[in-house]
């Protein structure tokens, strides 16, 4: 098939592209220019903050003997990922920009463009497995559980999965991918993994947000509503956070306090004991299915609420357009805006954005 390999400049996408070539596909490499930030203000400098990544991707494509292009998605990225990130924070939620990028850019804007231009599939270096069954294509966890990225791919729909290709999914470990890159003579073999949010190059998310969202002094409340301190901007807090709370008054029981809730509307932060972070229920209206929809409105599943969290057995029910999930044992600190991905064993059922959480510990009277 005709494959468009999305090449970030990292080792995973380079090896994925190499395997696509080996599999006999007709492969074209594309690097996405996503950022207009960088060292220069000149209009012609678009994508220049990633100039080294673009160069690494190009050199990998050269090595693999494939054509290579840079496609500019910086406007879409700004609108759909960066602006979304800021407005979610402004609304007191904790978004995952990488998921948004998969949902709106890599497997939407890029995939659509690839199909329009005559390609059959987009190939990426994600660690996840696709399984074709009589009921359609399924998305499963990667065989290397430590690297498994099925969580961030949970937003993919049946149509998107049909045009997706993950050559690394069945690799037992990342070390093998690096070794393979070395063997193939790819210069990115030992390039460090990227961890931070790509559009915040210095990694200072709080500072970056303060700049975008604006920081205003506000009150810190306990669960009863009593003011126990002040803060320099609610955006700097996320549910479950313990550090950075400068509270003059110690808790009555002397135990550490954690952020339980961020209320952007009145710029307040609610804190309380660790136990109060326990979450008995999450719900949301924005859900999608990775392939076929569940056959009944109530089903049991495993639910994962963070990229690196363990899945928790749970029961799910869909009622009046709202998907509600109750874990068998409470979650530990959930923030609205996070994505919950539902699994049936290794298979991704679907995902939703958490709009509402219910604490397992009622507020004391």
């Amino acid at each position: 098939m005709r494959v468009l390999a999305a090449m970030s400049g990292g080792v995973d996408s380079a090896v994925a592209a190499a395997r696509a070539v080996d599999a006999g596909h007709d492969v074209v490499g594309v690097h996405l220019a996503l950022s207009r930030a960088g060292g220069t203000l000149r209009a012609g400098s678009r994508g220049c903050c990633t100039i080294e990544d673009a160069m690494d991707a190009r050199r990998a494509a050269d090595k693999l003997g494939m054509p290579f292009y840079v496609w500019d998605f910086s406007e879409r990225f700004r609108d759909d990922v960066i602006d979304d990130f800021v407005s979610e924070y402004r609304a007191g939620r904790t978004p995952n920009p990488c998921m948004r990028c998969n949902e709106k850019i890599k497997f939407a804007a890029l995939l659509e463009r690839a199909i329009e231009l005559g390609f059959d599939a987009v190939c990426t270096g994600h660690y996840a497995t696709l399984v074709d069954t009589p009921e359609g294509r399924e998305l499963h966890r990667a065989s290397d559980n430590a690297k498994d990225q099925s969580y961030v791919l949970g937003v993919l729909t049946a149509e998107q999965l049909a045009h997706t290709y993950f050559p690394l999914g069945s690799t037992p470990s990342k070390a093998l991918v690096r070794a393979e890159a070395e063997e193939r003579g790819l210069t990115v073999a030992q390039k460090p993994d990227s961890h931070d949010i790509c559009f915040i190059p210095d990694g200072d998310t709080r500072g970056w947000l303060a700049d975008k969202v604006g920081a205003e002094k506000g009150e810190i409340l306990d669960r009863s509503g009593a003011v126990i301190g002040t803060h320099e901007g609610a955006h700097a807090f996320t549910v479950g956070q313990r550090r950075g709370l400068q509270l003059g008054v110690p808790a009555p029981d002397g135990k550490p306090r954690f952020v339980l809730e961020v209320r952007p509307v009145n710029n307040t932060v609610v804190v309380g004991p660790k136990e109060a972070l326990a979450c008995a229920e999450i719900a949301g209206e924005r859900f999608t299915w990775a392939g076929r929809a569940p056959s009944s409105v109530a089903f049991s599943c495993d639910v994962q609420i963070r990229a690196h969290a363990d899945p928790v057995p749970a029961s799910a029910v869909i009622e009046d357009g709202v998907l509600t999930v109750r874990p068998d044992t409470p979650f530990d600190g959930v923030a609205p805006g996070q994505t919950a991905v539902l699994y049936d064993g290794t298979r991704v059922i679907g995902q939703f954005t958490i709009d509402r959480t219910v604490s397992a510990v009622p507020v004391e009277a």
Binding site: V28, G44, S45, G47, W71, E112, L117
Partner: protein, 394 residues
Amino acid sequence: MQVYLDHAATAPLRAEAREAWLAAQEVLGNPSSIHGAGQAARRLLEDARDELAQVLHCQPIEIVFTSGGTEAANLGLKGLWWARAAGTQAVVLPDGEHHATLDVVGWLASSDGAEVRAVPLDGLGRIDVELFAAVLPGAALATAIVANNEIGTLQDAAALASAASRAGVPLHLDAVSALGSVPIDFAGWRGPGSGGGGLAALSVSAHKVGGPVGVGAAVVSRHATLTPLVHGGGQQRGLRAGTQDVAGAAAFAAAATAAEAERESEGRRVAELRDRLVDGIRRSVPEARLLGDPTNRLPGNAHVLFPDAAGETLLFLLDMAGIAVSTGSACQAGVAEPSHVVLALGLGERAARSVLRFTLGRTSTAADVDAVLARLPEAYGRAVASGARSGHAS
């Protein structure tokens, strides 16, 4: 079959240039050395300077070899700026110039207080000489492109130079795209008695006419005063220090001479092919529009607006089909910006992202044109469909 219709980006190396380069590499010696070996190298270098001076209609001493057109333009503009007359601060800059001049003037403005006096282009990309002349008085210097590298429109270089001469303002001409297609007449354009004003510097590049990349020249009038960019051993009138590239100069001179010898005949042949290409495009894509001056333009240049397609998408699809074209100036990141030249024609940003530049040259054939015409309709159809879904350039 691979079809190369991007001769304006770089042209295939001419056999004469390759031979001259290889022959000169056999000669050991630094042309600035006093001994016989140095003299042998110097002879080749000065032969090349003489030869190029004939093509450009200037005096050999006025030729300063550089690393290319961009360096020549930098020397011309910054050199004139730093040596400008006391009390002058303005730079006359028409719209739609090449980045090699546009960005130099932009830098002088942001870092050294230059005041930019813009001159608009008309709908065909022409500089109105009267508007140009009107903003000259009191300026430190002026610049203009002889033939636009994107849309191919030719300017009246003689008239621009004589306006600068009358105003007593030194003028830099960017003749990089013009060389080989337009007769370059440095002495004639400068005219007698221009003094410090009028045509002062002119930039050319070897690889646009079949010479090697990495060689160019600034023609610097013997009457002009310029501050050098590169200081060192004082070579080339002290305007461009550094050991001189004998082989590069020899290859440039050979390429320029060969291009000049066949300029008229090749111009006719290539223009005919170009017209055939444009007619064919119009037949298969009736909404396509030739931009730039329809008659007074570079013979190999077909700059076409495809209103419903993104130029970037068309470029990609044609490349997949083995046809190399351009959306305008090549750019480092590989990402296409809307063309500032198309914007200068008064067309919007959508149009500025919907153009393709086909440039034919010495090795272009009727088969190349036929190949484009055979593959364009499908690529265009796909690009339009793609643009419709993704809201192209909206």
